[in-house]
Symmetry: C2
Subunit: 479 residues, 2 copies
Amino acid sequence: MKLPDKKKNFLKWYSEIISYANIVDNRSPVKGSNVIMPYGYSIWESITKKLDAELKKTGHKNAYFPLFIPEDYLEKEAEHFDGFVPEVAWVTRAGDKELERKLALRPTSETIMYDMFRLWIRSHGDLPFKINQFCNIIRFDTKETKPLLRDREFLWSEGHTCHATAEDAERQVRESMKIYEAVYKLCCMSYLILRRPKHDTFAGAIYSIAYDCPLPDGRTLQIGTTHNLGQGFSKAFEIVFQDKDKQNKFVYQTCYGLSTRLIAAIIGLHGDEKGLIIPPYIAPIQVVIVPIYKKGQKELVIKESEKLKKKLLKAGFKVELDDREGYTPGWKFNEWEVRGVPIRIEIGPRDIENQQLVLVRRDKPVPTNKETIAIQDVTKEVKRILKEINDYLQKRADKLLEDSISHPKTYEELIEIQNTKRGFSRVNWCGDIECAEKIKEETGADIRGTREDIKEKPAGKCIVCGKEAKEVVYVAAAY
Amino acid sequence: MKLPDKKKNFLKWYSEIISYANIVDNRSPVKGSNVIMPYGYSIWESITKKLDAELKKTGHKNAYFPLFIPEDYLEKEAEHFDGFVPEVAWVTRAGDKELERKLALRPTSETIMYDMFRLWIRSHGDLPFKINQFCNIIRFDTKETKPLLRDREFLWSEGHTCHATAEDAERQVRESMKIYEAVYKLCCMSYLILRRPKHDTFAGAIYSIAYDCPLPDGRTLQIGTTHNLGQGFSKAFEIVFQDKDKQNKFVYQTCYGLSTRLIAAIIGLHGDEKGLIIPPYIAPIQVVIVPIYKKGQKELVIKESEKLKKKLLKAGFKVELDDREGYTPGWKFNEWEVRGVPIRIEIGPRDIENQQLVLVRRDKPVPTNKETIAIQDVTKEVKRILKEINDYLQKRADKLLEDSISHPKTYEELIEIQNTKRGFSRVNWCGDIECAEKIKEETGADIRGTREDIKEKPAGKCIVCGKEAKEVVYVAAAY
């Protein structure tokens, strides 16, 4: 199998690899509504397990709200309605009857949740109030769909919180960021943390912070967002609490979301010309054992392989023994490389005789990828190498991010970069939407926002119009 | 708070308790599509955690398939189509556009999954093939909706398997039963395991086995089903594998489902006149600590309560410290009784002085519900009492099932029972659907099927028509 060049033809590489590696089957009959295969879903399970633990640790409680949202609910917050209605799927019939009022399938759950929050929240003793929901989300985007990158149905976690003061809501935004960053770390992600410009803020929010991950073709992918909603929704939905001073006040709100799209970023960021490389702590299979034997040696080698598998399973690793007949070891090596398993163990009669094993790591090239270790040390060594792979992937991802940032000095240079190698371009901006639109028109790239993790002061003029710059922003073309 | 009589007016009791106890909020704007509140959702998390572990242990892999199903997919298996179409919700619009073909929201996932299985399964080496999906399900039932008992949207786990032989499929049905029974055990459930009569078999299956739980008002609730699908679907969807003999053959299939309806059964089966009693191993809160103090004692008591909470959390229990101000201990006792927390710990200054605690268990009446224990033994004692509550609830549920079974000798007696106390009536049946329909007409009760766990031979005539009986069946009115 020969994959397309990842850098030059990323989308082709991506669409082939997710299929070869059994991540997604896009032969589903409904465009943009794909099948997440067990191998891909297992990555999502690792992500949600970590996310769930972090959310619970910080006092979030899980709940489940309806898929169906009446039209008038969506309408209650005007900006929100305008933002989502073009992509809403509507149920109009049930059985053979027309419904009296058509029902939206949730494109996000603010409106259906906040109407309940209104009933549940009474006093300052109920705050802070933190809800999370794992569910499916429906957005009939008119743009071209791409599995996991842009789906009409996807899975996500959505956090929604209410607070007594603006300061508490602000603190909550920081807490949600820490939670997401813990998840990203497990996936060895690199990203810029950007506060979106006003014109790209979540519909109904006062500001939005997003995580943008660089992909190999120079485009970026938003892998999570957190929004400070202020009192916009609480006023629209009348979410009121009695404060310590006995006054009735509107709550301050935040919300945040992280979806199966993160899987696409993981694949894009870490994969290489041979296929996937799945970060060790979210890998569905961390170690694959491939027995190697000639006629008459099978029984011995399989027996040792099974012992090894048992030992590694007992130590808590995710292990697969590939004892399939009718496939050569070379064929198996290739299959597990394509599927991105972090460690392969090769074991043959001579290894057993010498009580040793060959460990092959997926992240490094020949010949730095092989180590011979003593069988008795296998759990210790596997643990060490998984950690090393994790750290190496993180370092490589960080370098990729660093390399993706350009510093054009002129408008022409910006346009040139955004029409060729792309990536993030760090530029000064006056804050006028016209300048953003001009860049978009010439390159397809957007102003993605200002750095949230560090303060950057503009020194100079807007790269588009030459007027006084107000902000240092990052320009990139996004998926 | 005074609850309605649970036996005489179960549905009123049920609808009040799920609201008081924060299980479900049924004030959602869309009828039959309710909000599962955090306290209720936590029960579902405990159920799915156990279910997921059992499914994985037996080689099932989780995946995610589309919510949307094209109409022609549903039509492929004719019985299946007829069975589900009356309750299907249809998406016909997206944004402001009519869709070219309307899309069903999954009422179950056989058709969308099996079209993929056709592509994935190639040879006997791929079998057995076991997939599970946790997802939301949409059925616009025309009957009256009742939260968790009969919803238009609910959550479930659906298992789907493929096998090389009919014997393997038969074995799989038994495996799925063991899995479900392990989950039910955690919930202290009692039930009859019944093979449904032909006319009540799952649409497209060759037979269906169901778990029917007795509720206090004499009705029963189906809390899980497992179906042997034979080759009906595999022929309709062309799921073919190459066998060891190089012949192409259709796979044999099974499927099974367990939904949030189980929560309704747990509530109905275990609750009492004071409110919920949640089985200890699925309880969102296993132990609640209520500090009791007068002026000037607060600091000491709260400090000790927090120490206690920490100790119990560290030991792995789910613990809540109710240190809310402005509520009397008596008010708190009542609240946690209504919400069914298995153990309440009362702690006051004198207890601290004597290094002791009062443990109050939810399942037993005054005065057998109280024990005084030494503080230093608290984790050991909590562990013991949770186990005792679990065993007691199981015993009580088993007794409830036993008591719910009647043995009418005549048709008149059957009608009398099914029009009054109801429960399961064990009777002889000729197998004719007319006789089933006659019972249904006069009592609303159905022939729920024959025992699957034990063999029962009919001795006598059909209780309705007097012809030779073919089966011993159980009659009951179901939710």
